[in-house]
Amino acid sequence: MAEQIALEGNQAVAEAMRQVNPDVVAAYPITPSTEVVQIFSQFAADGKVDTEFVAVESEHSAMTACISAALSGGRVMNATSSQGLALMWEMLYIGASLRTPITLALVNRALSGNINIHCDHSDSMGARDCGWIQLFCENAQEAYDTMFQAVRIGEDLRVRLPVMVCYDGFLVSHSVEMVKVEEDAAVADWVGPYVVDRPLLDVKKPYTVGPLDLQDFYFEHKRTQVEAYPGVPAVIEEVGASFEAAFGRPYGLMEPYMLDDAETAIVSLGSTAGTVKDIVDAQRAAGKAVGALKLRAFRPFPADELAAQLAGKKAVAVLDRSMSFGAASAPLYSEVTSALYARGATVPVATYVYGLGGREILPEHIEQVYEDLAAVAASQKADTQPKYLGLRE
């Protein structure tokens, strides 16, 4: 029987990895990696999984080993965070370019410097152009559920790409909450066996990966790689619908909340979307037509679907938990405004940066954003520079 258990986010994700029982997990089992790997390595040591657990000497090596194992025909999983992801950076591009379906739990934490261990989305955003699918989770249940879906999405023969399952450091990773843990057999059946389409070790059908690829063909290969992405959103939705049919919890590209008849809306990623929903309920009770849009898929960015949800609103606010230094605007705001304006939507969009390095985001911050949005809706003008929530200035 599926059961409700009090678990920390990292415990829930490690539990999902145990249930997937991957062929290989290659990890650097010390900070900045996560408790996910620590817990999973215990499962491996106790014989609760059949996984080959490879303890490597760095996060760079961890990703290298994961890519190699995936190319050889293994189902591969891993977990990391913050500086760990940053050290993988070179290999992240290679993993995506070689179309290796790896599932990586990413506990979102700040990047140095200065040294900080707490939540923000700088690590994910630093890797947003490398070709991985990025799915953001609001809570431990979503992180647990998304680990299974990530395996199916990444391994789908129409996709064949690595997937990051992103969830907020400490706020989700180290929070205890109730998680519905499904039966081992039920999730194993749902995930299904790994279809190996072209293992590197198949000597009857030899092929080459990662060779020198200069002016004559590199450009064509990148052009074909980009073709992998437009079809991914449909697969994310299909897998989400299949998961809902099996386990009753719906998943898609994004989660609109009281959005249909909303005049103003807040777009956010990760655990903050939970706080936003509470404020939407309170504002609705006070008669205000507000809504919210939680984005789940950040890569590929579901621009058409997002624009369809937000076009026609009187004003929108985007909350970014990272900054892009020297850029015209913060990452999520850039994507949302590009999606809207390229599709002719003229809704004014306000930009907010919050929560860097774990700075708390409080209900009154969200209330302030909705209050600001009422003014933006009236004037139809939004400042292009971000406002900072919860910052001492």
């Binding site: 409700q4 009090a6 261990i117 707490h118 609001e138 809570n139 907020d168 400490f170 706020l171 989700v172 180290h174 929070s175 205890v176 909450e177 109730m178 655990s271 903050t272 939970g274 706080t275 929903k277 509470d278 309920d281 009770a285 708390e360 985001i361 409080l362 209900p363």
Partner: protein
């Protein structure tokens, strides 16, 4: 609107505020409540002031921020009363439960809000007697059971047993369970 009870623990690193918060949450979960529990991670070191938070509700908990308006405040170390505003944000019907040899009236004089309910118990003394170590967190669960309805005495003991059985020696586990019972009997409120 959902019925939400928010709890804030004040302690020092090593006193078990995180573990006690988790045990409280798990006890509430066993009674069918939705729960959320998390510590405030700072520069972790033994003796440094730290806080942990528990939310208990009849509806799924979506808020993701520290508890600022607690219904229940638990102070594991009375030297914090002089350095931290443990009553911060607590409404007048909230209770402050302190591990101390002081009386509730003496503690009240040190609080920023004198209208709060105050209860005290010598959890350190009880822990030294029963567990043979200064770990005041589990006895506080017994005091909590007596002074609030948030957990029952049996629920607290069951949750401690589930959390700590196998991790501690049988003698230490039994010491913890005895400590909960003693704190339940000895807590004073005024």
């Amino acid at each position: 609107m959902p019925q939400l009870t928010e709890v804030r623990w004040h302690g020092r690193g090593g006193q078990g505020a995180k573990t006690a918060g988790y045990i409280l949450a798990e006890a509430a979960a066993a009674d069918g409540w939705q729960i959320q529990a998390f510590p405030e991670y700072g520069a972790e070191r033994r003796g440094a002031p730290m806080r942990s938070f528990v939310r208990i509700s009849d509806a799924p908990i979506r808020l993701r921020c520290p508890v600022r308006n607690p219904k229940i405040v638990i102070v594991l170390d009375d030297t914090l009363l002089g350095s931290e505003d443990v009553a911060s944000g607590a409404a007048d019907d909230a209770i402050v439960l302190v591990n101390t040899t002081m009386s509730p009236d003496e503690v009240r004089k040190q609080l920023s809000n004198p209208h709060l309910r105050v209860a005290t118990v010598d959890a350190t003394g009880i822990a030294l007697d029963t567990i043979k170590r200064d770990i005041p967190n589990t006895p506080m669960l017994g005091a909590l059971a007596k002074t609030t309805g948030v957990v029952t005495l049996e629920g607290a003991k069951r949750a401690v047993h589930e959390k700590l059985a196998g991790k501690l020696s049988e003698a230490v586990l039994q010491g913890n369970l005895a400590a909960i019972g003693r704190a339940y009997e000895e807590v004073r409120e005024a």
